[in-house]
């Protein structure tokens, strides 16, 4: 008998993932980070690609201040007028961060360091960088490169692509 887990099916295990983060809210950024870290923890090769507002998570001046959206999110179960009050987003963000810390989910900057140290490559999207007039020096040091969509596909050879 094999010492490893009994194989329950004949599917090929996932070997590589390319994860795209396209949203800049706290709840928009975390799923991609959790999936990238989770992939590395399972020995799966991983690339993280940040595009459009998803780049907020890797911009040095912004990454420590991401907020939960309290308006336009029916799952928050908060009336739009209340969600739009000053400080509401900050309050919801604070509460969510507290809950995340309890289950060992690190803040964005620490999480990116962990993911990068775990061997996941981190990229920013060239089109978005040009559009927002950004430079490599605007990003945290974990960003390996600014790449085009073509290069993203090249680096994703053999990978499952996950868009968040």
């Amino acid at each position: 008998m094999s010492q490893n887990k009994v194989v329950e099916n004949n599917y090929e295990p996932i070997k590589k993932v390319s994860i795209i983060v396209s949203k800049g809210s706290l709840e928009g950024v975390y799923p991609g980070l959790i999936m990238a870290n989770g992939a590395r923890m399972e020995g799966i090769e991983a690339n993280l690609f940040f595009t459009f507002f998803g780049m907020e998570a890797i911009i040095n001046k912004k990454m420590d201040h991401l907020k939960v959206a309290t308006v336009g999110n029916p799952a928050m179960h908060m009336p739009t007028l209340i969600g739009s009050l000053p400080g509401m987003s900050a309050l919801a963000t604070h509460m969510m961060e507290k809950e995340m810390e309890k289950i060992d989910i690190p803040p964005v900057r620490e999480f990116l360091e962990m993911i990068h140290d775990a061997g996941c490559n981190i990229y920013a999207c060239k089109a978005s960088v040009d559009m927002f007039h950004l430079k490599k020096s605007d990003f945290c040091e974990q960003v390996d490169d600014i790449i085009t969509v073509g290069e993203f596909y090249e680096k994703s050879a053999g990978a499952s692509i996950i868009f968040t």
């Binding site: 010492q3 959790i34 870290n37 399972e42 020995g43 289950i103 060992d104 690190p106 962990m114």
Partner: protein, 109 residues
């Protein structure tokens, strides 16, 4: 504690293992068995840093009943993320837990 799914003979001892192949009884574990489990994971010999991680995990498990997440290992074991992945390639938290005779970590991080 997880349920026994099978038995396995390591160094002449018959031990209960769970569905993930991890030891069911923490008390069945000793350093020689850790060495054998490490070999199964492709680690020929456990060095001082491996032991630092294994001992940390066993300590945390005996205090909390949970196998450590990768973040807890990174922050508190004294071994950083890069080194953890070098010591236990392809899945440090999962592999270290198995070698430490503990169930696989339950958290997502």
């Amino acid at each position: 504690m997880s349920n026994a799914a099978a038995e396995k003979i390591i160094l002449g001892k018959t031990l209960a293992i769970d569905a993930d192949g991890n030891l069911v009884n923490m008390a069945d574990w000793n350093e020689e068995i850790a060495g054998e489990l490490a070999k199964e994971e492709g680690i020929a010999e456990l060095n001082g840093q491996h032991w630092q991680v294994i001992n940390f995990m066993r300590k945390v498990y005996s205090e909390t009943g949970d196998s450590s997440s990768i973040r807890k290992l990174t922050k508190e074991s004294g071994v950083d993320t890069k080194t953890l992945y070098a010591l236990f390639p392809k899945g440090p938290a999962k592999k270290a837990a198995r070698i430490a005779g503990l169930p696989k970590p339950k958290g997502c991080i």
